[in-house]
């Protein structure tokens, strides 16, 4: 355990250090202008003089205002502690019902993600069952399911939102549909592989016991497919989250993490963008970890866990 934690901690510390260092050249121009307005002497004087100067050269000549680059209102790159403070303020200190609470926006996105993920997974498993049991379906559908993974189907997200909007569906459902079709194909492909994973010998064994097709399915194919199921669920839930976020972009939605990203970029609220970005990252990590925990528990009960 220590063998991993220490190097990971070092790498993370280096990243945070680099981040602070990167803030200096990124924000030095605005910081210099502000400091000059406040009466400090900046070298060289006047914003016009500095405009064409390299950021690093400017930073080296004005070491005194480095601290200011980490405390800008609308920085080009916010410092880590600014993002953490914003995250803390918008999650813990704001009421959950507030329009500025990230919990509120996160829930809007999460509910669409989970609903879509559920629909996509169930539909995907059902189609995989059909594909495994019907040769015609296998040959017709499977090539298309595989091909669909190579094309950027996320591109049709804006259209789905607007089309469903024009027939009166708004809010949760359109985003959930995008999430559903993004998680659908990985589940189909993974589950077909999983249902086919029992060896010929195992299937022959079921035959010698004169097991029916449904018995073979429930007692052999389904349990054997579990590792594949969880592998594709992990891909599926991450894809669902991306789908829900992108689904919030085109209509100028005001609620949800995607909307926070978009309004942040309209108004140059970089700290808001970064905190929304970290919120999505945390949400994704929690979702994937939840699937992984389910995987461990299930495989352990089945006796194949490590």
């Amino acid at each position: 355990m220590m063998r991993t934690i220490f190097p990971v901690a070092v790498v993370v510390a280096v990243i945070v250090g680099l981040w602070y260092a990167a803030c200096i050249p990124m924000n030095i121009h605005t910081a210099a202008t502000q400091a000059e307005r406040a009466g400090m002497v900046i070298d060289p004087e006047g914003a016009a003089e500095r405009r064409d100067m390299g950021a690093i050269a400017l930073a080296l000549r004005n070491t005194g205002i480095w601290g200011d680059t980490w405390a800008q209102d609308k920085p080009r790159l916010p410092a880590p502690h600014q993002v953490v403070t914003e995250l803390w303020e918008t999650t813990v200190e704001k009421k959950v019902t507030s329009k500025r609470s990230l919990i509120f926006h996160g829930w809007v996105t999460l509910s669409a993600t989970l609903l879509g993920f559920g629909i996509g997974t169930v539909a995907g498993i059902l189609l995989a069952v059909g594909i495994v049991h019907s040769r015609a379906m296998d040959m017709s559908v499977m090539p298309w399911a595989i091909a669909s993974q190579t094309i950027p189907i996320l591109a049709i997200a804006p259209m789905i939102i607007v089309v469903l909007n024009s027939v009166g569906l708004q809010g949760l459902i359109p985003k959930a549909i995008i999430s559903a079709y993004l998680s659908f194909f990985p589940v189909v492909v993974g589950m077909v592989k999983g249902f086919r994973s029992p060896s010929q010998m195992q299937i022959d064994q079921m035959r010698t016991w004169s097991a029916s097709r449904s018995q073979t399915f429930w007692k052999l194919r389904l349990p054997a497919s579990m590792p594949y199921l969880f592998a594709s669920l992990k891909i599926g839930i991450a894809a669902s989250l991306v789908g829900a976020i992108v689904g919030e972009l085109p209509t100028g939605a005001v609620r949800g993490l995607g909307a926070r990203l978009l309004t942040g970029s309209y108004y140059g609220q970089t700290i808001q963008i970064w905190s929304a970005l970290f919120a999505t990252a945390i949400l994704a990590a929690v979702l994937v970890a939840a699937v992984a925990a389910m995987e461990r528990a299930t495989l352990k009960r089945m006796g194949v866990g490590r």
């Binding site: 901690a9 070092v10 090539p143 190579t150 950027p152 591109a155 089309v163 027939v167 942040g264 970029s265």
Partner: protein, 281 residues
């Protein structure tokens, strides 16, 4: 109503044909394997056309395939300009830069055990995150043109590539590495002759995943701001004007570009990893 019934009849006929082919004696031939999905896809298209016409579905909900094809043929210059802006300038340049950066980093990681133990968990963590979210930031930094799209693509493909290349470089067995040592091979000799070739299946797996990610990144980044050309730009503005035939034409371009990109990578993989069991079947 007649058209809808015709659609259902055609569906039934085509399905019956597919069942006959799939369960027939020639099911395992190459021709059958091509014919069955082709019939299925064609039937879907025909049904789409007939049902949209039969039920008079308004174009703002679902345009018929024939309208989409007409629109596609009519606006080839626009679609080509969008393709160049988004795929060639944005996605491809970002893809090349991102994969090259991941390759260099993977070698650094490979040379230091400490870096590997520290960077790999972080890398696989980041690879699972919704990195498209960095698009608004990168658009703010690098402007509206293709440079910001390439930057998004770089960030998107970097981590999956890094994880795959590093995993691939671990693929050799102890015995093979010992053999290289017996021959007094240096790090680079054993890297080029043993470990990199052994890593190729993993590298290509990463390259294939990244080819799709690159297109997604370039298109979605354009939703956050772009010059007045580009596939993402065209999709979002055409959606706003309810010109759904144009949106579908762009999606057709995206699908063609995506499969072509993937196909090229898969073709190179065939040539490079001809020795791997998955390619010999």
């Amino acid at each position: 109503m007649g058209l809808v019934i015709a659609a259902l009849v055609i569906w039934g006929l085509a399905w019956w044909m597919n069942i006959r082919i799939a369960n027939g004696a020639q099911a395992d031939t190459k021709g059958a394997k091509l014919a069955v999905p082709a019939i299925f896809g064609l039937t879907l298209l025909v049904m789409w056309e007939l049902i949209v016409r039969g039920l008079d579905v308004p174009m703002v909900i679902l345009p018929a395939p024939s309208l989409i094809v007409v629109r596609f043929a009519d606006s080839l210059p626009i679609l080509w300009a969008d393709f160049v802006q988004t795929v060639v300038k944005g996605a491809l340049s970002g893809y090349v830069i991102g994969c090259a950066a991941a390759f260099v980093t993977a070698i650094l990681v490979d040379r230091s055990d400490f870096l590997r133990r520290g960077l790999m968990p972080v890398g696989s963590f980041v690879a699972a995150l919704p990195i498209v979210g960095t698009a608004p930031i990168l658009v703010m930094w690098y402007g509206f043109d293709w440079q910001s799209k390439a930057a998004v693509v770089v960030v998107m493909v970097f981590f999956p590539m890094l994880v795959n290349i590093t995993a691939g470089l671990q693929e050799t067995t102890q015995m093979q590495r010992d053999q290289m040592k017996t021959w007094a091979a240096g790090y680079w000799q054993s890297f080029w002759t043993l470990r990199l070739p052994a890593a190729m299946p993993f590298v290509f797996n990463g390259l294939k995943i990244s080819s799709t990610l690159a297109l997604i990144g370039a298109i979605v980044a354009e939703f956050f701001g772009s010059p007045i050309v580009g596939m993402g730009f065209r999709i979002s503005t055409s959606v706003g004007q309810l010109a759904l035939d144009m949106v579908w034409a762009e999606i057709l371009v995206a699908a063609l570009a995506g499969s072509a990109f993937y196909g090229v990578v898969a073709l190179i993989e065939r040539k490079v990893t001809f020795w791997h069991p998955s390619q010999r079947g």
